[in-house]
Every structure is written in C-alpha cells, then in structure tokens.
Amino acid sequence: MSGAVHTGLAAPAHERRALRDPLVAVLVGLCLAAALGLVLGRPAPYLVNAVGQLAAFAILAVSLDLVWGYLGILSLGHGLFFAIGGYVCAMHLLAHGTVMTGTLPDFVQFMGWKGLPAYWAGLEHAPYALLLALGLAGLVAFLFGLVAFRSRVNGVYFSIISQALVYVAMLLMYRNDTGLGGNNGMTGFPLLFGWPMGAPAVVTGLAVAALLTLAAVLAGARWLVGSAVGRRMLACRDDETRLRTLGYSTTRLKLRVWCLSAMIAALAGILYVPQVGIINPRVLAPDLSIEIAVWVAIGGLGRLGGAVIGAVLVNALKFWLSAAMPEAWPFILSGLVLLVVLALPNGLLDLAGLRIRPSWASGAR
C-alpha cells in the first residue's frame, strides 16, 4: 500500500489516528511559538542556549522512540549516531574556522600534523558536512542493521549488542591515535557560518534552528507513523513472524526505519554540538545511550509527544538540579524511572489522562 493513498475505506482509520494524537500538533505549535518567542523576547542567552539543547535532546528522543516505541527495537547504542552527527559537525566547525582564521585546531597541532588530514577535505562547506553526517550515520546504521536484522537478532540481544557497539566506538574514539582529539575531543569552535560562536544572535539562531528542526522531525515522524508504513511498523513490533509470513520483508522495513532513526539522531548531534561547544567520546558512553531510553520511557513509550516531553523534562531537571541540589539529582532520576516503570506503563502521559493506547498494547514489551 502506498502511504499517500488514503481513499475510500482507509480514510476513517487515518482520521481516527489524527484525532487521537493531538499532542504532536500541540508540541509542534509550541516549538514554533517558542522559536518566535526566542527571536522576539530576547531572553538571557543562557536560557536560550538551554532551550536549544533541550530541543536537540528531544529530537534524539524522537529518533529512539521511532525504533523502540513503533518497531519494538530498543537500541542502547543511539549515542553512536548522535556522536556521528556531533563529530562531523565539530569537524565542519573546525575546518570552517581553519579556513577563516588560518589557525589549526589545537588537537591537530598536538598530533604534530601540518594541516587537516586529507579526509577533512571539503568539510568546511556546510551542505557537504550535513550530507556526510547523515550519510555516515545512515551507512553505519545500515551495516549494523543489515547484519543484525538479517540474522534475526532482536529483543534484549539487540539491546546488548547495540550497547556493545557504542562501547566499542567509545573505546576507539578515546584512543588518541584515532585522530579526532581522543579524550579531549574537539572544542574551541571559533565561528559558525562566519559569525563568532558566542554572539547572542548565533546562540538564538542555533536554538531556533533546533526548535524548527524538532517541529519538522515531529511532523514528519507523525506522518510516518500514521501512514501504512507506520501500521506495518506496529505490526512488526507486535508479531514479526506473522508479518513476514504475510509476504513482507521485515528486514527491509526495519532497516529503513532504523537508518532513518539513525539519521535523525545524527541531526540531533549536529544541532547539539555547536550549542555546547564540545564533543568528546563521553557521548558514546553506554550510560548516555541508556539515558535516552530513560527519557522516552519517562515521557511515554510509543508516543512521539511522550518522547519529547520525557527528554525535555529529564534534561531540564538535570540542568536545574545538578546545580541546585547536586546530591539529590541521581536519587530523583532513579526514583522517577522506577515510578514510571512500575506505576505508569505509558510514561507520564498516563498522569495527564492522555493515555490513548490500551494497556495491552504495551504488554508485549
């Protein structure tokens, strides 16, 4: 079935879904309003930056929710794709800075190189860097997904193996000889599109870009899960063998969504790095990848809006509490997770009375 055709008998189903998920529309609206507010209201740069980072995290959470909530694949390695986006973005910023200012990044000087290595060629051009980031994330996801899905690795096995993958990547990137800054990673980005990095306009611009991207990703993801492909994703999540014996190549379906999700995660990384000003292998720590899953679970698994709410809530709390109540934050986080996992199977959306899908829908996971 092609996703675009919703004529005749299929239409009521489509409408039902749209009516049942007003949250996404609300969130998209909020994103746009917030972007407008940042431009017009000019709040403190610190706040603008925080909002921008939260938007990047929300994009990351949506990317995971697509594969976990809708396809039943819990990736504990999504930090890898986030990092790919982040690293390529950092490379672009440094290459751009080198071209504009003529000084080499300090880690390049440290490695004793005379200039940027050959594979950095062209990275100073933003469109190429964007393509490279998305392409690389997609390629890595494709290769990993191909072997994993073809050999039918799924469930907790997939989670463990994806975690091992991100762990391996972390070990590799910590190695100094890998050549991307090792433990210190990359930092000290001077310019963005020729503008000085810390300028208020740049900070606002980045935050607005992140918000708009979030809105677009949400709308796009919403369209996807509402389409025929989305129904196949749910079918695959709930009974993969059944779907396969009806003539569908679930490997191909999973691979496509998986690669798409990886690219969205890379997009989040691209938006994140210029806002925090550093990328280092820490983002590849298995803990961070688990945390992404925690955001999704807290907000509400299998609800795009839930992922956004979870990511924003947890990270806003983290920003605030790690300064305000540093001792209490880990306890609050672990308590929140346990509360959600035990009492609110559909995440905090349960509290808001917005529970849509009946509880048996999440029973298999």
């Binding site: 059944r242 003539g247 009946p358």
Partner: protein, 236 residues
C-alpha cells in the same frame, strides 16, 4: 503436477529429529489433513513450508520450480503460500480492517486492495467489527480474522494450524463450513488438527505423522482402521 511436494525432509533440533526424511505430495484443489500425536512434527512441517525453520536436508517444492527451503518467509508468502498459526496471530493495536489490509500483502494495487478487504470482511463475517482494534476481539473472532488475513491475498497454498482449537462446537462447524467454501481447484489446503470429526468433515486425504515420519496416508476411513495408527493414538 502436484501443488506441493515434500521430498525427504529432515529437521533436527540438537539431537532430536523433529522430521525424519519425510515425503509428502499434495495435489491442487486438495484439502489434506495432517494428524498425529503431540511431538509428531506437525507444526514443524508447517514451519518448514512457511520458511520459519530451515531443514537439515530435503526439499519442499511449490509447483515444480520453487524450492521453498531456499526462500525467506516473505518470498514464500509472495509465492502464494499463507499460514494461519495455531495461536491466533493478529496485530492487536491495528483494527480489523488494517489487519486485513496488511493481509493483502505488499504487492496488491491500492484499488484492488479496498475491494478485496470488503470481500474478505464479508466472507469471515467481521464487517460490523471492521473498525475495532483486533486486540479487543473474542478468541473466535480472532481466529476468523486471521483466516481472513491469510485469505486476503488469495493464496494458492493455505496452511492451517489447528484452526478450531479452543472453539465452541458451533464455531467449529462454522469454521468447517468456511474451509469448505475456501476449496478451489487452483488452491491446495493443508490442515493440522486434533479434532477428528473436523478432519473428517473437511479433508480429502489424511497423513498421519509419528515421530517425524509418515505412518499412514490415505482416506480418513482407512486411518481409523489402521492398526499402527490406532496404537499410536490409543496405545499409550
């Protein structure tokens, strides 16, 4: 030409041989029942035909060209093989209609699909339940919905794994009648069932499996008289 030829098929789980050099041929238009005690290898047989389990040796020929043991589940399904599982396997969060739409398979044109869904809804008697999520259906309704899903793509070979397990007598009779209606000259049907009355009602021929091998093949009447069959079913 047979619709399905199974040739010296062997399946092993560790040291246990679930199927042991089994051979079997089903003609087009035939309804074949496979019966046998628990552990005889009935479900394994369907697993191999539908591509879920790969055999150690042997072939499963669909028509005279396609060896199903070399195909993926999806390829097998697209070649016109559909299977109804023992446990009703429907997609609980999707509505009846959406389930059937997926049952039509990936290749059907959108226009044809809507017509087909409407037809199947009538055939399995779920037209009034079309907008209900499948998870909310009763057990019997789920069985019929699944039969509808496997019918939607008009399969040439239909595999039914215990279609009346857990159904009431009335529902069983209705299912038998439904299968009777499914019979077509270009369609072979393979049924696994424990309910002997049901088997007698629907099947042209029965194959009795025991410990992965064919114990008997022929009419149901003959099976009832066969000494070995009696021993296997009653002797323990």
């Amino acid at each position: 030409m047979s619709a399905l030829v199974i040739d010296a098929l062997t399946v092993a789980f560790g040291r246990f041989r679930a199927l042991d050099a089994l051979s079997l041929a089903v003609d087009p238009g035939e309804v074949r029942a496979v019966i046998g005690p628990n552990g005889a290898g009935k479900t394994t047989l369907l697993d191999v035909i539908s591509g879920i389990t790969k055999p150690v040796s042997g072939r499963v020929m669909l028509g005279d060209r396609l060896d199903l043991t070399r195909c993926s589940e999806a390829q097998i399904a697209r070649a016109g093989v559909r299977r109804k599982f023992q446990k009703p396997s429907v997609f609980p969060v999707l509505t009846v209609r959406e389930n059937l739409a997926i049952g039509c398979g990936p290749d059907m044109a959108p226009g044809a699909r809507e017509a087909r869904i409407a037809a199947v809804l009538g055939e399995v008697g779920l037209a009034v339940r079309a907008a209900v999520p499948a998870g909310a259906l009763s057990h019997g309704e789920k069985q019929w919905l699944e039969i509808g899903m496997v019918l939607a793509a008009e399969p040439g070979l239909l595999l039914l794994d215990e279609p009346v397990a857990g159904l009431s007598d009335a529902e069983t009779a209705r299912t038998a009648e439904l299968i009777g209606r499914l019979r077509r000259p270009d369609r072979a049907i393979l049924v696994i069932e424990h309910d002997m009355g049901f088997v007698e009602a629907v099947a042209d021929k029965v194959t009795v499996l025991h410990e992965g091998r064919t114990l008997y093949e022929g009419g149901m009447q003959g099976a009832r008289r066969d000494a070995r069959v009696i021993e296997v079913f009653l002797g323990r």
